[in-house]
């Protein structure tokens, strides 16, 4: 009886050992596979980051170049050349064309343009509404 119990105990210990080893191997396999898959995805992400990094720096450089090109195009001299090409001429406003406003948006009194405007109004009494004289 004692011998039988011993054999059963021994057999069950052997079975447990085999299962343990098998599960260890399976775990190792799973871990290895996981490692390889994570490694592969890491490599893919790394490559993607590399591509994005290159693209970002290329785009940054392109932006700088484009800004520089734009800056070169809009220099006053080039603008003047283009305006002349289309028969346009720009000049600064004369004093009588300037109306300076105060903080409240009212024309500052005593200005040439304002004086002329007022004088003209008094002299002719012309009221222009909707583009028509009345």
């Amino acid at each position: 009886m004692k011998r039988k119990i011993k054999r059963v105990k021994k057999e069950s210990r052997q079975t447990t050992g085999t299962v343990g080893v098998a599960s260890l191997i399976v775990t190792a396999l799973i871990m290895t596979m996981l490692y390889f898959s994570v490694d592969a995805s890491c490599s893919a992400v790394t490559k993607k980051i590399g591509v994005c990094e290159k693209r970002l720096s290329a785009l940054n450089a392109e932006l700088v170049r484009e800004n520089a090109r734009w800056d070169e195009m809009k220099t006053p001299e080039r603008l003047a050349v283009q305006l002349r090409r289309f028969g346009l001429e720009m000049s600064r406003p004369r004093e009588d064309q300037l109306v300076r406003m105060d903080a409240a948006g009212r024309p500052v009194p005593g200005q040439l343009a304002v004086a002329r405007m007022t004088r003209g109004k008094n002299r002719t009494e012309v009221v222009v509404r909707n583009g028509r004289k009345r």
Partner: protein, 597 residues
Amino acid sequence: MGARGEIARYAVVCAALAGLAAAIAYRLTAVHLGYATLEVSNHTGFSRPLQALRGTIYSRGASDRARGYVYAASVPVWEYHADPASVTLRRHSRETVVSNVASALELPLADVRKAFGNWKSRYVPLGTSSSDDAYRVMTNPRLVSGVSIEEKQVRRYPQGRHLAHVLGFVTKDPTNALGAAGVEMRYEGDLKGMPGIIRGEKDALGREIREKRIVRKDPVTGCSVHLTIDHNIQCDVERELYAGYTNCRARAAWAIVLEAKTGAVLAMASLPDFDPEDFNRADPLARKNRAVGENLEPGSVMKTITACAALNEKIVGPDTMMNTDRFEDGYYKLPGDAGHKWEPFMSVCDGLVHSSNIVYGKLGVKLGPAKLWKYFKAFGFGRKTGIDLPGEEIGILPEPKKWDKASQSRAPIGQFVAVTPIQMAVAYAAIANGGCLMKPYVVERMEDARGEVVYRREPQEVGRPITAETARKVREMMQGVATRQGTARRAAVKGFTVAGKTGTAQISLPGWKGYTDGEYNATFIGIAPAIDPEVVILVTYHRPRYCRSFDRSKAEGVPIFNHQGGVCAAPVFSRIAASVLSYLEVEPDKPEELEEK
């Protein structure tokens, strides 16, 4: 010998061997491992510096936060080199490569053909280009072969020659470009930025193994510098200065526009000028910023400073009459008033209006060298103004003990002392600013790469040489200069009061004893408007030959053989002032003149 002795011997030998092994292990790990690791890292280590973009220089913007025109900017470009020996003829003919390269880089076909014609050469520079389209063509192996490409940074100056002397230039070294003049040099530390770096490991082909990257430090773009220079004013000043320069056939010319109340430089121009992108080819003298680096005798413009000293000391008043006999006191002889109005007695004010050497020479003697020197010093002569530009000269202002009798009468009329144009402009700005001397500056603020302001310049007062009352009186006296009676009627600006002074300074050229015959510096410095000043404008022509008439009433092109400040420089001042005042929308203080039309 028993078994015990034998065991003992073995034990000793084993212990000795173990000790030896331990020593070798220690030597290998503690001593050699460091070297070995270093050796390995030298072979596998990867390090790539990332070049920082140099900061941009802008003109003054329309508002406090706005950006103006770009004066200087760094641009990443590609430098292309032909490598004729490596053209793959299996794919395309040499002529196809030549035509593709020529059209992509917009180069003459003959030049590219010549570059690719030399079979033995492996490196023929083709040129640089910032075009992305050109890069795409040049890197397409189906279209082009036998070309090597290098990435680099170049400094571009979109406004060309405008403001070249203030901006300066950077050296052509592609890896370490340094500011070598002007703002580029003065603000080198702020403009250059911080280079970045990538560190890690490399593969057998020398490429970076990204997974083994240890560090990536991004480069930091340099600060952007915002100038006080207004590009529109600068263009106007340069245009008018150049017109006068060709008109009077001067050897050189310079102009400064200062904001009277702050000392901010609104425009600064020197002629001859140069292209900052091609500075190597320019004459070294053309690269000199004469507005800050030229020491010269100021001539009659100094009389205003003498007037300030005399009025501030209350020795005379504007209406005090002076005897204009040049031999009156016997022991000194004054330069005559040839060409100017002369009367036996003249007031101090008339003396300034007619630029009388005798009146002001005598005023200088009345003041005495010590007081005169004190005022000259207080106005900033004989020391740097502190403008944030390199190459500033200090002028020449000898100590009063070195002044002899002749010097006492010469210094008040602008001889015997030397000043720089910026010193004189700043001194006049003090008169315009109620006697308050301001430090001139060209950089208003600096912003970092994120656009945050890291430096803002506030106007800085450096002294009060005269009282506000004296300044007002002198400005009133100076108003006569730009009238029909004065020496510079051509300096008048329609609608505005102008206070100014002409100067026609004799100069001494090398090889001459004393002053050179017929050689002058013709200057006009003006304050506009005279009553509530906004700007101070200095215009000087160096060695003008003659001046054609600017007077519209006279026939076009009739030459006036005159080298005087009132003829050469005053009309240029007038046109600059009219344009600047209109641009700044300054309200006319003589609107009746505009009504006359």
